[in-house]
Amino acid sequence: MRAAFTRLLRGQGEILGLLVFFAVVLVFFGLTTPRFLAAGTFQSIAFQLPELGLLTLAMLLPILSGGLNLAITFTANIAGLAMAWVIQLGGGPEAGLMMVLLGTAAALAVGALAGGVMGVVVAFVGAHPILVSLAMMIFLRGLGEFLTRGGDISGFPPFIATIGHGTVFGIPLPLLILLVAALLWQVLLGRSRFGFSTYMAGSNLEATRYSGIDTRRVLVLVYVLSGVMSAVAGILMLTRFNSVRVGHGEAYLLITVLACFLGGVDPFGGFGRTAAVVLALVILQTIASGLNLMGAHQHLATALWGVFLIAVMVGRWVWQRWSWRAPG
């Protein structure tokens, strides 16, 4: 019985550690911020989490494959723009359901295209993913600014606001979208041939290629899926704010990287689990809401995220050294 319990503990150490950390965060904000432990706080967390969550899922795949996608936030913006453009063509506020569905398809296609271009350059040219996605990010940001002249695009039919603000049996719709997406990632990474190949490519690309896996196809697919997931985030942002602005969500980029590393993903690729990353996300969003309630200065919060990222990495380093030395 005890042996079974330890075995269970060993497999879930990462998750348990995160749960303990989550409890600490809750206690800390509960004690320091009077209005924190209220239904309203968790309601707002449930509505804000999905945007960040979808972007984090978009970041997770490339990191697992040994890369990085710095263009996720602007891919989301451009996908949102594509959707807005289709809806505007279909009559703006009077647009019907067909046009909205068409716009959704356009957004997903744009996301897939942006990801696909990066994937092809990474996989076939062998250029470094950081550089490729950086160039794509600069390009997409420029494209967005060129198209919108830095302004907002709004004027959508009122019913799409239900996606961003509605609830089903009391559960916010955006949260359901995130859950479905996370489940999809979990199955894709844990149960499919593609997921296995992604982990393998992230650990050792050459060895994976020699073992007969078409690593190029895997990498292209990784970035296409990352782009599509960014587009889903972009669509959600459009429905939540009822407008599209290029640069919205830019600050999420750091936090998505942070969530992946807090969730135990190896920065060099090859290791990491969706469930732990989702848990890390919940913790980060709770901290963000807590800081917000405490009335922390916006820029001070930015600095804190940076400190936090370093603290997580240093903590993991200490943990690794300690577990190497520990017997067994």
Binding site: V120, I130, M137, G142, H299, A303, L304, G306, V314
Partner: protein, 348 residues
């Protein structure tokens, strides 16, 4: 001479190095701009370009050192802003100061910020992009928090007075002039070139960038190399920041935000390899030239400034693809053979 069948065979007239390619592109592009506009190829405009790009060039050679060492840094532009503030406040406390004190202070502050990156990367074995994403946010967040976003206009006179080193009147009646930042840029470039190419430490840096474990086993002090590389970039960022404050005659906390991407793009355009061990000063400078020229040229041709970033991003994407031509050729060959197979299948 390349063997027949090798990539590049039969194209002997084409340049073989990244620097050669860049020079060709810059010459062609410059020629086109010269013909398309009547302002590009004037002394006044070209000298202006030099004055404007001095800051980017100083940063670029500094970043090159880090890239050669196998790291990456995206916090340096924001670090330069921090240095501007610290230096401005410190010299005011000292009662005004002068250029010598200003440069020493800026270098020292810059080195300290670089050393923070180096120690996190070396002692805790954190990947450099993650460390510098974090320090980027820490530097910028704290700077905006403590300054409350306010700019400093009340700078000492020595920093505000424009120093024109060289000036002449062009036949058209304009004045073409070179300012102090250009001279400082040249000094930094020469110093970095000597460091990377003529000093033992510089060669050790290339060795570490190429193969860190190999370098360690040969007896190279990896810790010292980290502090040297990130410290060097910090010093360059500090000096560059001071020059930028001198040039625009004010210190604005978010003035350099986002500049790191332009500089990184330029250096990578110049052939520096992410992952270390490869990259030249000449390439970095040519990269800066091309990026500056693209922006200036688009401006002179009346293209909307909103489109600049888009074109720059596209140029970098194409350049990254071109600089790994073998991979691209393999892709095209595969694509063609796939199509040929498909056609053969259709015929047969």
């Amino acid at each position: 001479m390349p063997e027949p069948g090798m990539p590049g065979a039969g194209r002997r007239w084409l340049p073989r190095s990244t620097e050669g390619w860049l020079t060709l592109v810059i010459l062609v592009f410059g020629g086109v701009l010269g013909l398309a506009t009547d302002t590009f190829l004037t002394f006044a405009n070209l000298f202006d370009l030099l004055n404007i790009s001095a800051f980017n060039a100083i940063m670029a050679v500094g970043l090159l050192v880090v890239l050669v060492a196998g790291g990456i840094d995206i916090s340096f532009a924001v670090a330069a802003s921090v240095v501007q503030y610290l230096t401005a406040v410190t010299v005011m406390q000292l009662g005004g100061g002068n250029w010598a004190i200003g440069l020493v202070l800026a270098s020292a502050f810059g080195f300290m910020l670089g050393a923070i990156n180096a120690s996190l990367i070396y002692y805790f074995r954190i990947i450099s992009i993650v460390v510098t994403i974090a320090t980027f946010n820490i530097f910028f967040g704290l700077l905006m928090f403590f300054t409350r976003g306010r700019s400093i206009y009340d700078l000492p006179d020595w920093l505000l007075d424009r120093i024109i080193v060289f000036e002449f009147e062009t036949p058209g009646g304009d004045f073409a002039f070179l300012t102090l930042p250009v001279v400082v840029m040249m000094a930094v470039v020469v110093a970095t070139w000597l460091f990377l190419n003529r000093s033992s430490l510089g060669r050790q840096l290339y060795a570490m960038g190429d193969n860190a474990e190999g370098a360690r086993r040969v007896g190279i002090n990896i810790a010292a190399m980290h502090f040297l590389a990130y410290g060097w970039l910090g010093v360059c960022a500090g000096i560059g920041g001071l020059m930028q404050a001198h040039y625009v005659q004010e210190v604005v906390p978010n003035a350099l935000y986002g500049r790191e991407l332009d500089v990184l793009a330029a250096v990578v355009l110049g052939g520096a390899r992410l992952g270390g061990g490869r990259g030249t000063i000449l390439g970095a400078l040519l990269g800066v030239t091309l990026v500056t020229m693209t922006q200036n040229g688009l401006n002179l041709m009346g293209v909307s400034p909103y489109a600049f970033q888009m074109v720059v991003g596209l140029v970098i994407l194409v350049a990254i693809t071109m600089s790994n031509l073998e991979g691209l050729e393999a892709f095209i060959r595969r694509f063609r053979s796939g199509r040929a197979r498909a056609e053969a299948g259709r015929q047969g």
